[in-house]
Symmetry: C2
Subunit: 385 residues, 2 copies
């Protein structure tokens, strides 16, 4: 069936080959041991199928013009030999690795921040799914990685989570022409290919309005000391709302990456002389910390204290009482970020930068709803004149 190709046997031709191009022969016979120690290469498949390398490549990749019989035959032989194409060789040749970097913010030497934990996990999960569905895989690459690790992996593009102001990693990647999509609106003039974010100001304003509507007179904020976009925008929105509605700001800051500091800050907030009757906590653990602090001070939730917290955790559905949470929809963000990135990689974005805003969701539970409507006129928030 698969007759060996007729050998062109002009003597001078063969002589010339062995003289001038001796490496040409060495390929097929000299240095190759039969099936190679480890894996079968495309050459082995070609030899076994009695066709050329080109034909094997075309048959397996669905390219070229081949009759179905040849295609099937090659595929079958490849299967029989357990042939797996070399990812490295393919990447070298095509320039595409099918790998996407997932750059996570770091505090100290741990890969990702503790406070963004549930958020990050959900986001990464969605991103992995989305990438996979389009044939890409994700590589976890902390921002502080040594340079050699970064340059040791061929990336088609990168997702950056909450890049800092003038992130050197981002600049370097852009300089290399690698698309970069950021989760979080980039600060300054960071030249990202696209970004996805929530409207944090809008979300905070919505929560404050919700709390005010539930009868809150003085709303406090539990916020962070770091300068990332999320913290900055949220705090700013809070201050703005206070100014607009004539309430004195009541807030406590703490280093958000320190799990213990949160409990202390929550305690401080409720110990203040101008104790708030409602609190919004910007970070995931704030809910349980505030609840514990309220118990210590004998404050009933929601009767004496209204509570809302930004979190993706499901535990707040079963706390006593259940706590109202703001979800940033990490699943949707993760998916969107990856779609945008792959579009850019594959040139489907037509080169223009994209900004995409994902809406948040306020999951209202007992902690921010008063059973009885607030008594009328406890005393309007007085402003020092």
């Amino acid at each position: 069936m698969w007759a060996p190709a007729r050998a062109p046997a002009e003597p001078y031709y063969r002589l010339a080959m062995t003289a001038a191009g001796k490496h040409q022969v060495s390929r097929s016979e000299t240095t190759r041991r039969g099936t190679r120690q480890g894996r079968a290469g495309i050459r082995d498949v070609a030899a076994a199928a009695g066709v050329s390398i080109t034909t094997v490549s075309d048959a397996l990749n669905g390219k070229g013009r081949l009759p179905d019989a040849t295609r099937r035959h090659v595929r079958e032989v490849a299967d029989r030999l357990g042939y797996r194409p070399s990812a490295a060789a393919r990447t070298l040749r095509t320039g595409k690795s099918g790998l996407i970097g997932l750059t996570v913010t770091t505090y100290g030497d741990e890969p990702f921040t503790f406070t963004e934990f549930a958020y990050f996990a959900e986001m990464a999960r969605a991103a992995t799914s989305a990438a996979l569905a389009r044939g890409y895989a994700l590589v976890i690459l902390p921002a502080t990685s040594r340079h050699d690790v970064w340059s040791n992996v061929a990336l088609d593009g990168t997702v950056v989570i909450d890049p800092s102001d003038h992130d050197p990693v981002v600049s370097e990647l852009v300089r290399q022409g690698i698309p970069v999509v950021s989760d979080g609106r980039p600060a300054g003039t960071l030249p990202v290919t696209a970004w996805v974010d929530n409207d944090h100001e809008q979300a905070v304003l919505g929560i404050l309005d919700h709390l005010a509507a539930a009868g809150a007179r003085r709303i406090g904020l539990l916020t962070g000391t770091s300068t990332d976009t999320y913290t900055r925008l949220s705090t700013h929105a809070y201050l703005h709302w206070c100014e607009r509605s004539g309430q004195d700001p009541v807030y406590e800051e703490y280093p958000a990456h320190d799990p213990c500091a949160g409990a202390v800050a929550a305690d401080r907030l409720l110990a203040r002389p101008d104790r708030p009757d409602a609190v919004y906590g910007l970070f995931d653990p704030n809910g349980t910390d505030l609840l514990a602090a309220a118990r210590r001070y004998g404050l009933r939730v929601p009767d004496d204290l209204l509570l809302v917290c930004c979190s993706e955790s499901t535990v707040y559905a079963t706390t006593e009482p259940p706590i109202t949470t703001l979800s940033l929809k990490p699943r949707r963000i993760g998916t969107a970020v990856v779609q945008l990135l792959i579009d850019a990689i594959e040139g489907l974005d037509h080169g223009r930068p994209v900004e995409q805003v994902i809406s948040t969701e306020l999951i209202i539970r007992t902690s921010s709803v008063r059973a009885v409507p607030p008594r009328t006129a406890v005393g309007a928030p007085r402003r020092p004149e």
Copy 2:
């Protein structure tokens, strides 16, 4: 300085060359444009520095015998050109990619199970750190990925989390000679290179003893329906303990990957006629679910019901009351798994398989400690005769 190679000029010889081997000339001049559109290659560095490619490679990789002056000069030129070695080419040449796969169990099309969530996140975090410290990066690869994604990435080795009985992915990887280290003792005769796990039987026995010492008469179990190693071993240990101590088993099963089913199962367990006075929950959310169920039935914790739950979550430190948890030490497991894997990749394991057991930690909180010692003889657990 850099004279062109002398041209051999025998006429018949040249004729043969242009006929048979004309490609030999095209390399140096024909197809190359000056500095290439995108990035500078090692060739460009060599040309700019006035040395050979070999010298550049040696200088940058710290090999060969070169005077420091040359080394510095080459490095400087490389920096100036913004040279970054091609990861793909290096991988193709050396056979090492510096990438480690992190295979996660999947239910449905989501990358990882919900129940192992906090555990997984912590484990992945530690694994990422450990890999990075040794110059490797992690690729997230769900077990159900399409084959093309798996073969599209060159892996030096893989971490498999809780592989199923005769996992085809593991077999395939081993067949390709790629080291595989599993988190979780492999069931059956899965040929992994090494594995790391807790002693789950020991842990469960310890907890049951702890609860019995705290006065528990009838200890219930909240367990899963799936057949993974963790669930199987833990349940088995529970049954064994019951048999040994003459207590009737009281347990409820539910599909652990379903977040809602857990709450229902917790409710079922406490609604039974032979209601336990202590419960151990195998999965992360069981603690809050059991607490909520206990409240519904008017059971006080720990007075009427002792509670322990396997979890890595910090929320259990601030629940009301705080709940005793068993930590599987995912950080240590993640680190150990990666160390073993990289040892195997780099041939430091001397080829023998390694099994490593990480000890668990019981974090004792209020939920499993009775303020007053149990009243004597409430009535021994009666067995229907």
